[in-house]
Symmetry: C2
Subunit: 338 residues, 2 copies
Amino acid sequence: MNIRELAKKAKVATATVSRVINGTVPVSEKVTTRVRQAIEELNFFPNTHARALGSGRSRIYGLIISDITNPFFPELVKSFETIAVKHGQEVIVANTDYQPKRMELCVRRMLERKVDGVAIMTSEMEPGLIDMLRKSSIPLVCLDTAVVGKRISNIEVDYTGGVEQALDHLLQLGHRRISFISGPMNLQSSRTRHHAFCQYLQRKNIECKSSMIAEGNHRVDGGRSAMSRLLKLKLPPTAVLTSNDLSAIGAMGAIHEAGLTVPKDISLIGFDDIELSSFIQPPLTTLRASRTEIATRAFMSLFNASEKGEIDGTACRIEATLVVRESTAKVHGSKGSK
Amino acid sequence: MNIRELAKKAKVATATVSRVINGTVPVSEKVTTRVRQAIEELNFFPNTHARALGSGRSRIYGLIISDITNPFFPELVKSFETIAVKHGQEVIVANTDYQPKRMELCVRRMLERKVDGVAIMTSEMEPGLIDMLRKSSIPLVCLDTAVVGKRISNIEVDYTGGVEQALDHLLQLGHRRISFISGPMNLQSSRTRHHAFCQYLQRKNIECKSSMIAEGNHRVDGGRSAMSRLLKLKLPPTAVLTSNDLSAIGAMGAIHEAGLTVPKDISLIGFDDIELSSFIQPPLTTLRASRTEIATRAFMSLFNASEKGEIDGTACRIEATLVVRESTAKVHGSKGSK
DNA sequence: ATGAAAGCGCTAACAC
DNA sequence: GTGTTAGCGCTTTCAT
């Protein structure tokens, strides 16, 4: 079944069928209905590969993420897909799995599929790979990592503002010995959050000892072992801020394991507000940056570039807001301290 | 950049380039290296749309799921994608979002992309839509829902065996008043689990009152409200089996809200073993069917059909195993009962 | 082993 | 408003 057979059946030229399907040029009502009817009867579906080849546009966007099993991503992917389909675009999702080999493969796949744009929603992408994409003049949008330019946009999550809210909250609760469990320090986004943490403490004249910082890996196990290390300190923290929720959940496990309680003994704040965070015991206080908004912004910047011919990339900032639940409380033992 | 320019650069015919890339026919070593070098230098990526058009095979599989934000799916998707990429195939993921409109759209997208096969990993697909796919002779594989036939395979999770293990465990712990929180009863897979539950209780000569069955929706809120209803019973259950983990987590919330404790007052068993289940307090006892295995089997049955020309579909069964954690314990108040 | 050329199913430019 | 036709970039006969 192809457009030629269909054209024959509807007694029109193939071009006319194409016009009816795409609505590019007005077609008389009589012909239109005849074509539509033929489409119905023959159960015709236009071949997107031929379409892509003929038009030079694939109507596919690539969405590169680290790992779909990281709970941060599913909602992002879903929102992106929903808005894409609404705009008649397809989405190819590619997981880098944090592996350089896979990243290269991801980029290659995008290039081969001749995607109309790529949203790089992982911070671990090699600059060299991004350059490959840019050389092909493919519109790009990055999360936190890009410098805006021709056909490249950036979405920036306001970590600094988020960290400030979190720390204000803890300071108000009387905490002064506050730890930070970071992500892998080779990631830009991890360093940003870490930096914001230290900066703000210093601004408040609170010492920010390096012993109070523990490196995690943005996963549960890393949060757990980072917290274990912090608990071994002579003067362990009374509150802990983590670089993401998964780390916080791991930290919570370590705290419980040590026979301590959240938030009675130690207050805990996460980052991301993954769905799970509201279900654990106690529900986690955390910072949220709307993933739906990130997805929408990412999509729109690609759409504007590939469909509306917008050349200049845009920068946009997504606010982070503190969601207070039950993992934070007033500092314990005010009596005990000197 | 296209194959013609490349051929000119390497001083060969386009067909030869194609041969080198695909390895379809032996090419002399001299020519091969010349072509490879040209590919390197020109940074050439074959256009998959042209490839699909020329060869009639898209090298894409469709993967239809209900909702990527349902924690059951990410691991399945990831495993499927990993094995697909390993075999040189691409994957298009489509969420039905439980909406008939979206399901139809999903199927249409698959048809338009001329996918080489579709894995339907949601039980809510309309038979009519499956027929559309079948009419196009596209290899199919379903989860629990299909009758095996030409180009259609089925993967069956052994719910019955799983439910038996779960109930044996509860019976051993002394429970006799056991409830079931089902999924939406319009789903085949929900009914299967429900049926297995009743059957097994009857076999053990334990009454299975309909008041002890509550319908959920496979999500947290449904589990919560189903449990609330069960708690209002004159004689509430001492143990509850749920149709999936999300329901169990909701149920756990309702139990805590009622001032009761899991597992002291009520034992709870889930189904799926989503990652989250091991992190909540208390860690959930649950039934696991390997999602990696499901994905691998699904992929292989499509691959065998589309690449090896296997016409007959296959049936396979995935075992469910009980993972005992801390949400189940001996029945309380053996003293209290008559 | 390699080249020449005819499609694959569509879009778009051009004619009328 | 509609038809004709030349590509789009590959794969795949068919020659040689």
